[in-house]
Amino acid sequence: MREALLMGQPGAGKSEILRALARTARRRMERGRAAGFPAAGRPPGAPGLPGEALVLSLGRWGRLRVWEVPGLGSRPLPDPGLRWLQSRALALAVTSGLVLHVVDAAAVGARGKEALEEADWELAAVGLRRGDGYLLLAAQMDRPWAATGLERLRRWLEPPAVLPVSARTGEGIAGLLRYLRRVRPLRPLGSR
């Protein structure tokens, strides 16, 4: 199963995007074992884990699991279970995972570079190398300053691909879903 990782700062809008995607796809979120989540390693026992994922069928290409990575902030999270998920996501992000980098465009429009974390700059750098394996989601486009933020994100992060979205108005969500449904495995099926 391929993994698509919603990654970004706390509050960037990851959860809302995932919810909007599920609504648009008319699919319920899968939990625990049904989601095949977590895929490997020790089960994160800590409460408050996302523990759920949106599983999309890619037809003969298998399935894609979309899930939210706990917010990438400036310091380590206190919860060990969440850190475990982050570490797994980072390993995937630089290899076979599809990185959906979520940035609050309105915050960037209003506060400029201060609204970006080191993790944002670094994820964008990963994006430059990953190419197809990376998509920047300029989120919360319905809020004021977001258009300015979008323009800045294009200039500052130079993402290979960017999609403006708003979970509130639904802008870009159907497009994101179409994009995800077209995702192909990077390696032949069965290699993972």
Partner: protein, 345 residues
Amino acid sequence: MVAVSFPAELWRRVEAGTLSPGEALRLFRTGSAPTAGTPGDLSGSPSPSRKSRVPARTGPEAGGEAAEAERLRQSLAVLAELDALVGLEGVKRSVREIGAMARVQELRRRAGLATGAMTLHMVFTGHPGTGKTTVARILGRFFQALGILPRGHLVEVERADLVGEYIGHTAVKTRETIRRALGGVLFIDEAYSLARGGEKDFGKEAIDCLVKAAEDHRQELLVILAGYPAEMEWFLVQNPGLQSRFPIRIHFPDYSPAELYQIAEQMLAEQQYRLTADARAYLRGKLQGAGWSFAGEAGNARAVRNLLERALRCQALRLLDRAHLGREDLMTITRRDLEEACRSW
């Protein structure tokens, strides 16, 4: 040790809580293993800012007073963005007045009070690069925040997007363009070119179609006709029907040399560059200098942006054969960079 455990060691440190995700990614990029016991070592990081974000947001609010307060907050935020533009004092005042008036009308309408029919379609006159598109984009978001436009996005078009090549084609094209703009702002650049070809031209058909849409969709579409002052004057005289349907006129004057200089400083600061003292003096001189006019048709703020973009490229070239570049070097634009940029004008 590095070879064996990299990058697994990085991810393990994230899990252990001794490395932040951003740090781990940076170390992965630079290919360094974390130094034991110094997870906070950030020397040499290229990230311009690692300040933690201040959560300052409000949740989704349903209707009523809370929604109205949120609207007000959003519209003030958009106005702050307008205020951040250099100069344009008259334009800023007009936008504020129109917004204030439209807001009261909208609130009166919702309160069941009598409202005069308010037509918000506008004509923007001014030379290229005087900020017409920039202000139109802000205006859309301002009206959206005020609850006057549902979406507030900007669709910028020109003659070619409206006028077709055969009979019937124009109406289809124009209608499609209007459909895209519904809920927001339809910005027609160099609108006078629609009347270029005279009576038989399809441009005439596009104008009629626009006028009709501007009336029919008054509640959900703001149409802005933009162009050079003289040509727009002529255009409106040629089409008297337009005058009453586009009652608001906003003129964008050319920027003064001092304003252009300020715009340049703002653009550079935004991209984290700065000028040496020498370069500053040179740029001031250039912007004022006779025979080198940025005003009028030369492109105003856009010409400044283009000049600066060339200067950045000249800087990059200047640094090409230098091995060790510090932050300072990477941020500095010298007089020579600007001179080169002016030469390749």
